[in-house]
Subunit: 359 residues, 2 copies
């Protein structure tokens, strides 16, 4: 008997697009995105992504073309994580805290064909574009606020109009090779100019599953977007929340007031952040605070926070898991899994018992 199997016609490529297509089928009526007064279901998010992808194709953006975006954690950036690869293109989410020179370097080096700019980042984008001397992306599009449109315009096109004019029946380009690129992220470039890191569909898919497993993120999380989506694609949770049929709570800034308000209002279960956000939460003024009535899982990265900081943040109702990674590793690659003996030691000081006992 010949047991040899080779990948051929039955080959199903690994791609995060699968997570959205599945969410559209099995979590169709569940809330996918919350942003201020705006809410979408997974079937609506899927339709919006297909529409946007179709509009990208009509702009001649396709296979391996780079689409850059400069924006905070708004629904548009979330949707672009699926719409751009559905069109066969590569997403380049740019850090809004960079200076104009670095942004110009990224736009030039990536060869971005299309550049989306949030209305709040128009000034920074203008300055970056002015440095490009003719190597600018051929199409510039503005993203107005979806919940409270401001009327600010920049470039030739507007995001919401592109979504609306796209064909909802467009099913996307075929991912022929799972090693094809899905995203292009630039490291902070501590030694010189930012350096580009290419994520493949396969790598993004596997890293997404790996981090859901490492953090033990269960079904239907309510995920607060405190970590920037431009940071290694939100440590893969842009794709991961779709895989878990969760709800994305988007917000423009991580002020104490906004974070506490959104946690309380939407019963947030999960969030990622740098340890600096712990300080923001701990130093909140009384009128900015809201009681955390159900534990919120926090995944934090980088150097381990001091024990006293961890104890203080856990007293407020957060449960912290620590991870480490880098842009080149598709975000967090190491997770410090909770162990029973560690929990017994760490909670002795805070006088609080962890919800889950593991060994």
């Amino acid at each position: 008997m010949d047991l040899l199997l080779k990948c051929d016609a039955n080959y199903v490529p690994l791609t995060p697009i699968t997570f959205l297509k599945r969410a559209n089928v099995v979590y169709a009526n569940r809330t996918s995105v919350i942003y201020e007064g705006t809410r979408f279901t997974w079937s609506q998010t899927y339709e919006r992504c297909c529409r946007l992808a179709d509009s990208l194709r009509s702009l001649n953006v396709g296979k391996n073309d780079v689409v850059s975006v400069l924006a905070p954690n708004i629904p548009a950036v979330y949707e672009m994580h699926f719409a751009v690869p559905i069109a066969g293109a590569v997403l380049n989410a740019i850090n809004t805290r960079l200076d104009a020179k670095s942004i110009a370097t990224i736009l030039s080096h990536s060869g971005a064909k299309l550049f989306f700019v949030d209305y709040q980042n128009v000034e920074l984008a203008s300055e970056a574009l002015s440095l490009l001397n003719g190597a600018a992306p051929s199409v510039i599009a503005c993203i107005d606020d979806i919940d409270t449109p401001t009327g600010v315009r920049f470039g030739q096109l507007e995001y919401e109009q592109l979504v609306q004019r796209g064909n909802p029946g467009y099913t996307g380009e075929l991912v022929q090779d799972e090693w094809d690129p899905i995203a292009l992220n630039y490291t902070s470039g501590t030694t010189s100019a930012p350096k580009g890191v290419v994520y493949s569909h396969r790598g993004a898919y596997l890293s997404t599953l790996s981090l859901i497993l490492g953090w033990e993120m269960g079904n239907a999380p309510v995920y607060l977007w405190s970590l920037p989506m431009f940071h290694c694609n939100g440590w893969t949770f842009t794709w991961g929340v779709a895989a878990r049929g969760g709800t994305n709570v988007c917000l423009r800034s991580t002020t104490a007031k906004d974070v506490y308000h959104n946690i309380a209002e939407h019963s947030v279960t999960h969030m990622c952040c740098a340890p600096i956000v712990f300080n923001i939460l701990l130093e909140a003024k009384p009128h900015e605070r809201r009681e955390i009535t159900s534990p919120v899982e926090i995944l934090t990265g980088g150097a381990p926070p001091p024990a006293s900081l961890l104890q203080n943040i856990e007293r407020l109702g957060f449960h912290v898991t620590h991870a480490y990674g880098l842009t080149e590793a598709t975000g967090p690659a190491l997770v410090c899994e909770w162990q029973k003996k560690v929990e017994q030691t760490s909670t002795a000081g805070s006088g609080k018992t962890q919800g889950k006992a593991r060994d």
Copy 2:
């Protein structure tokens, strides 16, 4: 900028062997296997698998060769799920409830080179081999009880001796192609003879992760082997418990007494079974029962059990998740995820609140 990425020298194939190698590193001293009075750690299980794989190679069992086993849920069958592919070979775990004729058909059709037989299955194996007329596996090895050796011998070799004489420094054959076969399972053959289904390393890896996610099996589960390992490789949990750094509680039979005893003794958190096992547990005599003090997650397959049966089993301290699949789909392919609204309805009758609320 050329974003094309192709798999080449940096290609890391997907294979469940990774789960064991990782467990050996990150869960080295955690208990991997419990069987009666025998206990192993993950570093011991890894060493035993490397030793056995080396012995298989010395018997000239290698790439794409089939190794069959006829045995209950004992540590040897668990170890073979890694040792056989480490040697580059393909595991064929045979249903011990089949008749001799079906087993002979499987041994013949698979072209098994090596056949392991548990001491309790010697009679059945003898009868099957007598039907083969010269097409029998070239090497037969007996598996004696590791905890309480009986001295029963069958064939030329003995399992534990093969483990002990192997080189612990053997690191295994390179998985060159993730589409290479890792396991060969036969369907029950309701229409004629059993039909073989080949699982690839890639398929086994992905199905394992998929089912851990679908069932939300967290870190360090204590997994009771109530479902046969020969049943689609224990619905992939042979590999999955290693991926989660859990503990495998092995047992020879799923009698009410053995199941209750092992749950209580080892604080079992997870088990899989057919709905028939619910009846075994519900009909247990008082002296066979032990109190379930912490909820045990059950994954069950096939047709949905009646609501009354579910209510009765949940009252005992079990929490049931329902799945459906088939041998051709690497075991359970569909999982009925718990939803808040379903939980509210289903628990109304039992007067019991589920531990986790999801939507």
